[in-house]
């Protein structure tokens, strides 16, 4: 032990430092080292670090006090910055007035609103639902910004404090604005630390997340506490957004991307340690500025220095100690009877999918809105792109749906698959390479999961965000990965079984069949011991481990399987487009939206990937309607649905965590003649509804022990008021 640090931390730090030194030696740009250049890089780095620290502080405060990691922190900043622009620039309010209204009124109100409407209900939800809902809030806020403030003009937010004057530091100058921001960021972090550690409300805030019931018994009001946290977090996001907007320009995607750096900074503080998070942010700023100033990664890695944040996150994840298996976080579910889809039901289902696809594309289904006609190339092209996305969606089912492990980078895995295929098949485009692509993608997925699988699920989720970013910054732009300037198609038509799928109709059928096969494979996988084991580690890692299931290894395996599916899907995805484009295809927001849609569909269901046809479906429908009859309001509705639908649907997970397809299935399955069990379940539910409420019973006679248990279960306190180790030494 050195300085009382854990060996893993010391080793990782040492490796990182040595790596940085070697990297520096090899990539030294040779620009003259002057005190001016050094100073500029240093205080610019500190200033950027201060801005990121503000976001990170908000993340840490909300996480330590409510247990929810807020992916929407950046989007709150974006919305606030736009609102500030609207008031200050567009409506000529004084900057102080606009600032007070946005940071002092709007932001806390938004925070409290989010808490009351959504976040409060997420306390007992699974990590998947928690993160999905905050991601949905992010997507919705960004969509709202896009609709309210259209991108048809460039907007600029002036600096809050004067930038014309400052402290002269040798040959350069540090403007007051930046100095103030650095001081404010540190002051905020210090005061938040003080608030959490030294004040009564702060103690209550921390106590509530550790043990809500106990804190409540001791007089804390959990709802007030969580609303306070969200208000604070939201204010910090708003302030960060308003301060960083003049630096970056008012652009939703750019501003929002800042939050990913804040993720890395927060992770540096192990998500709970404020001072360390601030140090992490400053470190990131300094690393990035100095690497940009002094190092040259060559023409093919021009933007590599921007991947400092993902790399730091990676190092943090490696250095963190193995997480303890948590007890007492078992999720509760509604469904009464567990029932596998039979193998023959799966076959029928897949047959129905293929049949429906053939009928739709052949124009044999008449919806009475327009004349049915066989699909033209236009429809087929959209359908092919949509189906390729649906294939990628299939990769999320075992991972998120069963094992409960998040992955925001399905497109990065798919892109990797396409890359592997390109290298394997070259110009031959033989479909027989595709299984091999799957085999090669599996170790890639395992490799990504390996460092984070020892940790709690949140770190894995953050790792995938980092992966998506690092891949799009370092990997995909490299010309030898995807030769972007090549004229013509990089991915020629797939040839399989002696058939070249060169026309869109043929390729459509190939995709439909592939999708059916994927779904059927998932049905079988769910029935297998792997499916069971993955669900087991999702339900209780502690219990799985005590039964001899190696939790870390199981997670790695499920990542590998998911990566293999995504990689194979990626081949089709790239073939539909004929090209892979780094800017468009690997945008993290597109990945977020895809994951949201699959989750909202009911990610534990093999068919969930089909929801990824959502966007093209409604866009196409809107276009068809517009051509057919100009049903204006309907077209507008569909357009808005495409923009806001994914977010809204995912927010629905707060109330219905099992997803849309699950609910549809509940309604539909009793109709099937052989599903006696489904009818029985509905009957049982109806019977249950007729039973009087527990509370009414208690008024007339004493509770029976069973009812006491039922009450305890409903209150979530079960048999003991002290569920958590470590705080249990006082007798209650």
């Amino acid at each position: 032990m050195i300085l009382g640090l854990r060996p893993s931390v010391v080793i990782t730090t040492a490796v990182a430092v040595v790596g940085a030194v070697i990297l520096t030696i090899f990539t030294w740009a040779g620009s003259p080292v002057t005190s001016g250049t050094f100073l500029v890089a240093t205080y610019t780095g500190l200033f950027l670090g201060a801005l990121w620290a503000m976001y990170a502080t908000g993340l840490v405060v909300v996480y330590t006090t409510t247990g929810v990691f807020n992916f929407a922190q950046g989007a709150i900043g974006v919305f606030s910055a736009f609102l500030y622009w609207e008031l200050h620039v567009n409506r000529d309010w004084h900057s102080i007035a606009a600032l007070l209204v946005v940071v002092g009124l709007f932001a806390p109100a938004l925070g409290v609103l989010l808490d009351i409407m959504l976040m409060r209900r997420l306390r007992t939800a699974t990590l998947v639902v928690q993160l999905m809902v905050t991601v949905a809030v992010m997507v919705l806020l960004l969509a709202l910004v896009g609709v309210v403030w259209e991108a048809d003009t460039a907007r600029r937010v002036p600096f809050l404090f004067g930038i014309e004057n400052g402290v002269d530091l040798g040959p350069s100058r540090l403007p007051w604005h930046r100095l103030i921001v650095i001081i404010v960021a540190i002051a905020i972090a210090v005061s938040m630390r003080y608030l959490l550690r030294r004040t009564r409300i702060g103690t209550a805030m921390r106590a509530v997340v550790d043990n809500r019931e106990l804190a409540a018994l001791n007089g804390a009001r959990p709802n007030v506490v969580s609303s306070t946290s969200w208000a604070l977090g939201s204010m910090l996001g708003a302030l960060g957004g308003i301060l960083i907007a003049p630096e970056l320009g008012l652009d939703p995607a750019t501003l929002n991307s800042v939050v990913i750096i804040a993720f890395a900074a927060a992770a540096f503080g192990a998500l709970r340690n404020l001072p360390l998070a601030v140090v992490g942010a400053m470190l990131l700023g300094l690393l990035r500025q100095h690497s940009e100033t002094w190092l040259d990664f060559g023409p093919n890695f021009q933007i590599a220095h921007r991947s400092v944040a993902p790399l730091l996150l990676f190092a943090v994840v490696v250095a963190l100690p193995q997480a303890r298996l948590q007890v007492g976080r078992v999720a509760h579910h509604l469904r009464r009877h567990e029932r596998y889809t039979n193998w023959w039901e799966g076959l029928i289902g897949c047959g129905v999918i293929i049949l429906l696809a053939v009928m739709l594309s052949g124009g044999w289904l008449n919806f009475k809105i327009w004349d049915p006609a066989p699909w033209g190339l236009l429809e087929l092209n959209s359908a092919n792109a949509a189906l390729a996305m649906a294939l990628i969606g299939c990769s999320l089912v075992p991972l998120i749906g069963w094992a409960g492990q998040l992955n925001f980078a399905p497109l990065a895995f798919a892109g990797f698959g396409a890359f592997v295929y390109l290298k394997l098949a070259g110009d031959t485009a033989s479909g027989y390479w595709i299984p091999l692509v799957g085999l090669l993608c599996a170790p890639f997925g395992a490799l990504v999961a390996l460092p984070a699988a020892r940790l709690r699920g949140l770190y894995l989720a953050l790792m995938t965000v980092a992966l998506a970013q690092a891949m799009s910054l370092i990997f995909f732009p490299h010309p030898s990965v995807i030769p972007r300037t090549k004229v013509g198609l990089q991915f020629p038509d797939i040839e399989l079984f002696g058939i070249t799928f060169d026309d869109r109709r043929g390729f459509f059928m190939l995709l439909v069949c592939t999708f059916a096969i994927f779904v059927y494979a998932l049905v079988l996988l769910r029935r297998s011991r792997f499916g069971r084991r993955w669900i087991a580690i999702n339900d209780s890692q502690a219990a799985s481990a005590t039964l001899g299931v190696p939790v870390v290894w199981t997670k790695v395996v499920v990542y590998a399987v998911s990566a293999a599916i995504a990689g194979i899907a990626g081949v089709f995805w790239a073939t539909v487009a004929g090209n892979l484009d780094s800017a468009q295809s690997f945008d993290l927001l597109i990945g977020f939206e895809a994951v949201l849609l699959v989750a909202a569909a009911g990610v534990s269901i093999p068919l969930a990937g089909i929801f990824l046809i959502f966007k093209p479906l409604f866009t196409g429908l809107a276009a068809r309607l517009e051509e057919a009859g100009n049903v204006d309001y309907l077209v507008t509705f569909l357009d808005q649905l495409v923009i806001f639908g994914p977010g809204l649907m995912a927010i629905g997970m707060v109330f219905n965590p099992r997803g849309a397809i699950f609910e549809m299935g509940r309604g539909f399955s009793p109709i099937l003649p052989w599903r006696k069990d489904a009818r029985a379940e509905i009957a049982a539910e109806n019977a249950q509804k007729r039973e009087p409420e527990i509370g009414e019973l208690g008024l007339e006679r004493p509770f029976t022990p069973e009812e006491v248990i039922a009450i305890d279960r409903r209150l979530g306190i079960l048999d003991e008021v002290v569920p958590k180790e470590g705080y249990g030494n006082s007798r209650s």
Binding site: H337, G728, R731
Partner: protein, 254 residues
Amino acid sequence: MAILEAENVVMRFGGVVALDDASVDVDPGLVTGLIGPNGAGKTTLFNVVTGLLPPTSGRVKFDGVDITRAGVAKRSQMGIARTFQKLEAFNTLSAFDNVRVAVEKNHRTKWKHQRVNDVAHEMLGKVGLDDVADVTVGTLPTGSARLVELARALACRPRVLLLDEPSSGLNEEETSSIGQLLLELVADKNNDLAVLLVEHDMSFVMGVCARIHVLDFGKIIAVGTPIEVQADTAVRAAYLGSDEFRGAYVGVDE
């Protein structure tokens, strides 16, 4: 010789000492009791023994081998199985599948699907849950879910079974049948089984345990047969004024 020994285990959480130099040993063929007031550190000791918590100091030995540093799954494979005080059943899976996960992991031979199912049914039968095999555990009553955990633990073919309050949520009849089951299991020499039982129901504890350890504020304050423990003044003092005060004396009186 004891199959499981916890020697001088200390467990600190920050400034709080949950286990303070606690030593417990469990002999094969017996049900050993571990009692103590709420928050005495019983579950913490279970967590240390099964590897969910690394002890601050002290050692855990299984069959004479030091397993203090071994992982949870490794210990399970060696033969330590447990149930949880706060339920840790796989709520999304059916009772049957809960058991199957354990069977598949702990019976080495590449059994056929059917064989796995047979064993799983056998285990469910032992705890009397045959008729709810297909029901999702999340919707079962607490008591039944506990029995699922018990069946699941048994499916691991353990040599040491750690049971954390198996009777809570069960009615008297069910409790006594569980007690009967435990006694049968340890009595069967083929099983080579030792049970360590944490329990609040004093009559249950006194009825099935051959030896009892009493834990208070993380310290073992008494070890002995049920009669010896009940006579111990330190034990009486520890239980004085607590929830189990009456229970303890009911046990004594009976």
